[in-house]
């Protein structure tokens, strides 16, 4: 029995929730079962590959496939010449999508090095590669622009097509522009006793690097249905968009998501499924496409590189008066998630300091001729927090107070709201939210002690050429998109007393199949082992928006809880007829329906059998959906202890402490895994990961040789702790944990460096060479 305790009072006691049940796909994954997209064998399969642009900006004058078509085994070549031209967004979002319809399957123009030119399908990958080498494309090179501040001038226009829509200002390459002033920002800044005036922060392009790259296999089944088997986070969105752009009836499309090898947002896109599908439609053969690691870097999606300006004003006793945040996102050649990432960089950050008298958010997402940025765990908040939490430390420094004190005076608390919630939503206006659960102050206290803040802060302890520093950052995120994200769930009773659970929810390795089964188990009162889960098949499971926006536990969990409640009611109702007893005296316990007064019981197995075969026969099942006007934020406080090697500039993280309030924990190990995984990704973002472009827009390091991820020997001691709160609207009190922790490492480490040597590192990643140069320039003696 696990318990949720709030201030020494036991709120709830659970049977399955809070337990480390065996992960639903744990043993199959550990024993290498054929669970992934590629793990099926289809005879007569074609292999497909995309030929990509060598120029950052060019018109395609002519494509000569004649030599390629002569190669035996080349079966189909797709280009703008022979594919439908239907503008769409590749972003996997709810319809109508808050993103521009600026993408075509194949256009007559290319907008970044790596953009689609044409695609070849053939009997083997070697044949296809040879065919691509023989296709002669004539380009007319166009002037290109790589810097968003240049792009805004409008000298080079990247999207001039008449048949696209949803772009804020094509003539200035602005995909999305937002300006939300609340209160009198300039005046409040003027009146502020302490000011941080115009600090500028830079974040770099990084990639998700899922170990399984994008892969899809499409084929026709016996009934002529198009089956799309894809490593995707958004099967239902894929089905909808495919139907539209292929002009193929949705009812004949089935999207299946098997186990996938990581997503983190890069698979919240329609990236390759359209090409495979069209090839299957035309050749009638199965088609397989897998991106190479290099293609995954260049031609999939990235986290937006950004430039962020921030101004903060506070009064004499440390209360923040005003925050002015301006974000510029370098979106690359297409819009996709640009608008919503932009909004999130403000909507997930600014409410944290809700007591300001004025706040302003200004943002632009801008086209450039670079590889495309899209959804990446954190989704804009990661960029925003680097700036906000770094500036907060600078302000504390200016004021001569402890950064923790500054946070404590100003952060949002239970019962409070922020005007930002209403003004900034998903690419449009949002919805007012009140914080109904928050243990942020406790998280800060516990983390502070765990890292031994007082012992290290300001002391700059030296050990040879190493100097020690501590830094911290606080953060919040959201749980689903309010009134937008919806999930469905269905449960049915079998004649062995077990349940099937059908959910649209997309398990991308996160373990949602597991925790959703736990929620059902808890709600109905049957063992976790008695539940079989099927998920993410657009023909067999109910709808779900997909794995993004930290929505699965809260929204999909909400649907499962409702369905569980409903099927429990139906089981008891049926049993009451069988047992001739008032349903109010019946509960489900120990795989039976039990009369709490007489002790009489009937097994669920018997109920299943009789309901199928001989007594008032029916299929006992229940469906439910969940959508919420609320998006209860999880909160976290991060602390890091570093050594800075003054001779090399290398930052060595020694201990990392993250204290989370994510509501009630459904599965401790999976929750811990989400937190630690996010932190290690955040550490890479802070210290080592960076994609580098040449002056011509060539990505210079699209491989693990020069795109460096932290390994097992690089990680610090990582300590994640959870303070459970009970959110009244979450399933059994749960909120979400998928994204929040990735926002901490960059500002926490930057602030630790500030503590150690007094240097402000405002540009990521904080590589040894960068830090060393900053140390030299500052004149610190080594």
């Amino acid at each position: 029995m696990s318990k949720v305790i709030k201030e020494e009072k036991i709120i709830k006691e659970f049977n399955t929730v809070g337990k480390n049940v065996e992960k639903y796909d744990g043993l199959p994954l550990a024993t290498g079962q054929p669970l992934f997209t590629d793990d099926i064998f289809l005879p007569n399969m074609l292999y497909a590959k995309i030929m990509t642009s060598p120029y950052p900006h060019a018109e395609i004058v002519e494509i000569d496939e004649s030599e390629a078509l002569k190669i035996p085994g080349v079966r189909i070549i797709l280009s703008y010449k022979n594919t439908p031209r239907i503008a769409h967004t590749t972003a996997g979002q709810g319809y109508p999508e808050p993103s521009p319809y600026d993408h075509f399957m194949f256009d007559k123009k290319v907008r970044f090095i790596g953009d689609r030119v044409c695609a070849v399908g053939g009997d083997s990958i070697e044949i296809v590669e040879e065919a691509i080498s023989k296709i002669k494309v004539t380009y007319k090179e166009l002037p290109f622009v790589l810097d968003p501040e240049e792009a805004i001038k409008g000298d080079v226009i990247i999207h001039s097509e008449d048949d696209i829509s949803g772009v804020y200002d094509k003539n200035r390459n602005i995909i999305s522009h937002v300006e939300i002033p609340i209160g009198d920002v300039e005046n409040e800044l003027k009146e502020s006793f302490y000011k941080i005036e115009e600090e500028i922060y830079f974040t770099q392009p990084v990639q998700h690097t899922p170990i399984e790259t994008h892969i899809a296999i499409t084929y026709f089944d016996e009934y002529g249905n198009l089956i799309v088997r894809s490593s995707t986070q958004v099967p239902f969105h894929i089905r909808r968009i495919l139907s539209k752009i292929l002009e193929f009836p949705m009812k004949k499309i089935r999207v299946i998501k098997p186990r996938i090898g990581g997503g983190f947002g890069v698979k919240q896109e329609l990236l390759i499924e359209d090409i495979c599908s069209l090839m299957t439609i035309r050749t009638k053969r199965p088609v397989r496409m897998e991106l190479t690691r290099k293609e995954e870097f260049i031609s999939s999606r990235l986290r937006h590189p950004s430039k962020i300006w921030i101004r903060i004003g506070a009064d004499k006793d440390g209360k923040l008066n005003v925050i002015d945040l301006k974000v510029l996102l370098n979106n690359g050649g297409y819009g996709t998630h640009g608008p919503t990432v932009l909004f999130n960089s403000g909507s997930k950050t600014l409410p944290l300091y809700n007591k300001v008298k004025a706040v302003r958010f200004i943002g632009d997402a801008v086209y450039t001729n670079l590889p495309v940025s899209g959804a990446f765990r954190g989704y804009g908040a990661t960029n925003g927090y680097f700036a906000l939490e770094s500036a907060m430390d600078d302000l504390a420094n200016l004021m001569g107070i402890d950064p923790i004190e500054l946070r404590k005076i100003n952060h949002i608390s239970e019962g409070e709201t922020s005007p930002i919630f209403e003004k900034l939503g998903e690419g449009k206006e949002g919805i007012t939210q009140y914080i109904e659960s928050s243990a942020l102050s406790k998280c800060i206290e516990i983390g502070k002690n765990e890292i031994e803040w007082e012992k290290w802060r300001g002391k700059r302890v030296r050990n040879g050429n190493l100097v020690r520093g501590v830094g911290m950052a606080i953060m919040m995120q959201g749980s689903g998109i309010p009134l937008v994200d919806m999930a469905g769930a269905r449960a049915k009773l079998n004649d062995d007393g077990t349940l099937h659970l059908f959910i649209g929810a997309t398990d991308i390795g996160t373990g949602s199949d597991t925790i959703l089964a736990q929620i059902l188990s808890e709600e109905v009162g049957i063992p976790y082992e008695d539940i079989k889960v099927y998920s993410s098949d657009t023909d067999f499971t109910p709808f779900d928006t997909g794995a993004y926006a930290s929505s699965t536990t809260y929204i999909s969990g909400g649907a499962v809880k409702r369905a569980g409640n409903e099927i429990k009611r139906k089981i008891i109702s049926y049993a009451s007829k069988l047992m001739n007893e008032n349903p109010e005296n019946l509960i489900i316990k120990e795989r039976s329906v039990v009369n709490i007064i007489t002790g009489e019981k009937i097994s669920l197995k018997e109920i299943g059998e009789r309901s199928f075969y001989d007594f008032e026969q029916e299929q006992i099942e229940a469906s439910a959906s969940f959508v919420s006007p609320k998006s209860p934020p999880p909160f976290a406080a991060h602390f890091v202890l570093i050594d800075l090697d003054l001779e090399t500039g290398k930052i060595i993280p020694i201990k990392y402490v993250a204290v989370n309030d994510i509501g009630v924990i459904i599965h401790p190990n999976l929750t811990k895994g989400q937190a630690i995984g996010s932190i290690v990704q955040g550490l890479g973002f802070a210290l080592t990961e960076e994609l580098i472009y040449s002056k011509k827009g060539v990505m210079l390091n699209p491989s693990f040789l020069d795109y460096k991820l932290l390994t097992s020997v690089d990680i610090p001691e990582i300590n994640v702790k959870f303070i459970e709160t009970y959110d009244p609207t979450g399933p059994f009190g749960a909120k979400s944990v998928a994204e929040i922790n990735i926002n901490g490492p960059a500002p926490a480490i930057r602030n630790a460096v500030l503590d150690a040597v007094g240097i402000k590192l405002n540009s990521l990643p904080m590589t040894p060479e960068k830090v060393f140069k900053a140390i030299l320039n500052s004149g610190i003696k080594i």
Binding site: T648, D706, K708, L709, T711, S712, D714, P768, F772, K773
Partner: protein, 276 residues
């Protein structure tokens, strides 16, 4: 897949091996671990020549040398316990554990990437290689790099010899990386022969500059007959920074490499000093 490869050969003598190489010319090549061959995917490669039947996987010792057969994988070299574990630690820092199980010492030296840890380590330790091109040649690593560049003959590298060092020798190797499984962005090996605390002989080899490993001659000259202490080491660091010949590349700037050459020198010497 190397799709143009037609046939694999397992010659049973060095002569047979050479004959195959000269018959096949640029269409044939020797497979060491094969890692480089798989990755490079040279289109002209049609014949692969394996050395498995030549019994080149021995590690022998006599009074003067440790002789390492060329087909030994790097993990086998971890068993060589000389110079107070420092050689073993240097080998263990190369690549990753799984790659060390397949990369061969011979293949690494023949391929000879300028930033290669192995080149720096073996040049520092004055290793020699045996090269068969019809007759047996014994060359230092530097001589081999020249030989490879200039010789028109086909050859097989058969053995690498390490001198046996007595207790008066100390070795340290440092590689500077971005993460734990990286290639070295700059590396340095230091071998010192001490008479008491006095430096009788010293090799300081800087590699990954990004060019091929070279001696830091001025620092070596400076250190001769000095006693290793904090002051001498700091002066060595300054001299290394000043005199090292390094360049820019995509990974590190020249200035930063210069700084690192000093830092690596200092840290290698400190490690050695602490060993005494």
């Amino acid at each position: 897949m190397l799709k143009n490869v037609k046939e694999c050969f397992y010659p049973e003598s060095l002569e047979e091996c050479l004959k195959l190489l000269s018959d096949f010319k640029e269409n044939g090549d020797i497979v060491g671990g094969g890692v480089d061959i798989v990755w490079r995917e040279r289109k002209e490669l049609e014949y692969l020549i394996y050395l498995d039947k030549l019994n080149l996987n021995y590690i022998k010792e006599d009074n003067n040398y440790i002789s390492i057969g060329a087909t030994n994988t790097l993990d086998e070299l971890e068993k060589i316990n000389i110079l107070n574990d420092s050689f073993r630690n240097a080998i263990k820092s190369v690549a990753t554990p799984i790659l060390r199980n397949v990369i061969t010492i011979g293949g690494t030296i023949v391929r000879g990437y300028s930033w290669s840890d192995i080149l720096t380590i073996f040049i520092t330790l004055e290793g020699k290689v045996k090269v068969f091109d019809g007759e047996e040649n014994i060359l230092s690593i530097d001589e081999f790099l020249q030989y490879k560049k200039n010789s028109k003959k086909k050859f097989v590298l058969t053995e690498i010899d390490l001198p046996k060092f007595d207790d008066s020798y100390h070795f340290s190797y440092i590689r500077f990386t971005r993460t734990g499984n990286d290639i070295p962005l700059i590396n340095e090996g230091v071998l010192v022969k001490l008479n008491g605390k006095k430096v009788e002989k010293v090799n300081i080899i800087l590699g990954g500059r990004p060019g091929f490993p070279v001696h830091l001659d001025e620092v070596e000259k400076f250190l001769l007959n000095k006693e290793l202490d904090e002051n001498v080491i700091n002066l060595s660091k300054e001299m290394a920074t000043k005199t090292s010949e390094v360049q820019d590349d995509m990974r590190l700037s020249m200035d930063y490499r210069k700084n690192l050459s000093g830092v690596l020198t200092k840290r290698n010497l400190i490690k050695i000093m602490e060993e005494i």
